[in-house]
Amino acid sequence: MPINYYLFLSLALFTIGMVGVLTRRNAIIIFMCIELMLNAVNLLLVAFSKMHHLKNLALNASVGTDGQLFVFFIMVVAAAEVSVGLAIIVMMYRNIHSVDIQFLNRLKH
């Protein structure tokens, strides 16, 4: 399949995630949208990795593997971020019994 399909698919996923972050009010859903953005990037990286691999196969058999390596690092970092992020959301829920970010206006004044 041409690379364009992958590019458009992951850009679409990324945009859905971005719009979700900017418009939703529930902290958990915002969080899911951020994960969607990261996964769109993962998909794109793997697709590019394959593309570069096929293109330069004759020159160097291991070309393109670094893109897939990067995906693993993103997964690890995302996992670390999830653990911290959910802890923060739980901490907030304990105090105000809600995960609605409408409550996040104490600092404005």
């Binding site: 690379i3 590019l7 992951s10 990324f14 995630g17 971005m18 972050v21 902290a27 915002i30 969080f31 951020i34 953005m37 990261l38 769109a40 990037v41 794109l44 990286l45 590019f48 990795s49 593309m51 570069h52 293109k55 330069n56 070309v63 393109g64 670094d66 893109g67 390596l69 990067f70 690092f73 993103i74 970092v77 670390a80 971020e81 911290v84 992020g85 802890a87 923060i88 959301i89 901490m91 907030m92 105090n95 105000i96 970010i101 409550f103 996040l104 104490r106 600092l107 404005k108």
Partner: protein
Amino acid sequence: MNLLLLAAFWGVLMMFISLSGRSHATIRLIAQVGMGLLFLSTLAEMQGFLIYDLKAAEMFAMDRYGLVMLSVLSGCGFLYFLLSGRDMANVGSDYSEYFSLIFFIFCGFVLVLSFTSLLMLFLGIEIVTIPLYILTGSDKRNLKSNEASLKYFLLGAFSTGLMLMGIALIYGARGTFSTMEVVGASGIPTRLLLGGLFLMFFSLAFKVSAAPFHFWTPDVYDGAPTVFTSFMATLVKVAAFAGFLRLFDHAFGSLKTTWQIWAGAVAVLTLIIGNITAVYQQSVKRLLAYSSIAQAGFMMLGLYGLGDGAREGMVLYAASYSLATIAIFSVLTRMNDYTIEGFNGLAKKDPWIAGILAVCLLSLAGIPLTAGFLAKFYMLQAALSAKYGLVVVVIAVLMAAVSVYYYFRVLQAMYFRAAEEGAQFPAFSTGFKRVLTLIAILILVLGIQPGLLLHYLYF
């Protein structure tokens, strides 16, 4: 790379010490010794001494500039531990872990200052920010702290997403993450590469709180426990800027004509928004948050006029801004009243502290004979060489004049207002005063002889 190994080791050490149930004084002493060692090990590395020679040039390679920056950061970190180490105990019960997280953040600093692959830039920035989310929310019962950490977390993760998309697009364009090869020899960028470049530009502008991506900063800095705001607003911001400069210097240097005008626009916008909004603040903590945005505008000028002059200016700015802000925050943490009125009459009660605060405020405002003046001067000089430099410099100077107004409001409160009845000022210990005096001396010495610091860049 000495610092990377030592900081990682000390971070783990601090975690185990919390299990052993030592007293606060012991924990603090160990942390201070550790940070002192980090500083000394960086100085030693500048003389060519390496604990272990990490051969990973494809991932990160430390250069002279990174080492000087790192020694400024670890030196300021050491002073920060000396001044504010005691106050961290008031935030919550996990005293040792706070130090541990700060040591881990220093590991991130090393990566941000030495990356040669975009992978390491990403990891470095994440190692810096993830512990910061925790530190911001460390005052668990305080709703403001909760709110600040959630806000910081959601926006930080969002900007990380943007950065990753940028990296992915760049990878698609060139098939490599190495900063040296990201832009091809032809120097003509493809659309994918340009898209990636601007996504990275925006996300890094987010991290260093440059306008129009600054809106999270005042809330987060205000809500976080004051001891940690001090750390976030100084060392973290400076390190993020150093990484920003390094990326655009090493990787996108040959595309300077494309992004330079954007850097200039962001710098001007940051200067205007930061300075004008700071004028209306009543709380010193919030005022310092806006002042940090305004100072970020000046540091953006370093990116705008990127070159040798800007690099020197960046080191000087890092030192002068961090020293002054850490000192002001360390006093602010102990004050009972964070409003500007809370400083009324401090000069009568404690002339020594007030004098040192005055030096720091003057340095932030950029009055001659202080380090802040020369730092601003270097940045303006660098910006002057760029396209449309004159316009940008005129706006920057005007905004520096505005900044004098709000820094002097604090000065005026300290010196020319009588303390309100029943106002309580904290007692400052002699050791605390000695460290503050050292900071004031450093600021003045750098203001007269910047070469003392800058010559390390070359020799």
